[in-house]
Amino acid sequence: MIQDKDRKREVIVKRVANELKDGNLVNLGIGLPTQVVNYIPEGVDVLLHSENGFVGLGPTPKPGEEDKDIVNAGSQPASHVTGAAYFDSAMSFAIIRGGHLDVTVLGALQVDQKGNLANWMIPGKMVPGMGGAMDLVVGAKRVIVAMEHTAKGEAKILKQCNLPLTAAGEVDMIVTDMGVIQVTPEGLVLTEIAPETTVEEVISMTEAELIISKDLKVMDV
């Protein structure tokens, strides 16, 4: 089991990056998922969607080169790539809800065996609002949850989410620092395992039942 915090995060974002295909339109959630952009394989041309109203999100500008009219959906200074396009919020979510987004990558508070996702509130404690998350999870063709396997040692992959859901049954794949889990009609299938990690460790850190794939591979990270 990987112990180093930075290495954990690297494993997650690197593995998610390998899921992206040439020509994909992708939305990367705030926080960890944002870093996926740094690991996209060469030759894979991905267009990034930003909820606040454009496709073609570019790298963070150098200090002093910020444009006040370009920020990402987390309000950090951003840029656009050549061939980008800006639009209003109705179009931004028409793209999301209309199934035009190939992949959305989000963090999670909890995910469960049915592909349910909870990532927008802890009642009485933290209520940031769902922002665009509910639309993203319902609308994108593929929903990838990218998160650390546990939170303060507690399992986040559960038999059943007990926090308010972001969406029901929409998650396709979970990538953590311990492995890769596919959400299938039969349940959660562990298809890849992280380096330095045993199947027993994954099972012990997961509340949900895990089916271990016969073709279990080590994550290429």
């Binding site: 309000s75 919020s89 979510f93 999301i96 209520v127 922002g131 319902v138």
Partner: protein, 214 residues
Amino acid sequence: MNKIKTLDQALDNIKDGMTIAVGGFLGVGTPEKLIDAVIAKGVKNITLVCNDTAFPDKGIGKWVVNKNVSKVIISHIGTNPETGRQMNAGELEVELVPQGTLAERVRAAGAGLGGILTPTGIGTIVEQGKQKMTIDGKDYLLELPLKADIALIKGSIVDKKGNVYYNKATRNFNTLMATAADLVIIEAEKLVEVGEIDPTDVMTPSIFVDIIVE
């Protein structure tokens, strides 16, 4: 018809208890001068329709801090701790709406639609109190139009007739809010003569804009 007014003249239209829709996304594309003027006037009990409550010291978040607002209809409040604090203290009513649903509800009001069916929120607490409909085997929520008394928006380039061009990511909700309010006040970053914006490039036609402030 001269639409160009002073801030004071524009503010005459804004009264306590109104529903006000404000453009902007986390403070980008937000009419900061109008926001400050509302605070200076001390308008109270505003129902705010906006994407988010931005930050305590930037954008519409300042209204929350200054207690101009009694209710917010909004998709995200996480960047402004004061919104959450007032909500938990029972000082502020918060109606959370998924961002895409918010966009469609405002658009529906502006476009004369009685509502729209969205799959967003199915299986979540967003369902509560809403009519569910099944179309072609898929479940949808009926979401109703969201109208405002006043919209406060920000344009990068505005001509003196009220045609608007939004630069880059400043467009966001500004275009939608302009269609769904009885009175629309725009803050022009740059005011130009009529004709200086190519008619093909206008993003909000002048017909939606009632008052222009610089």
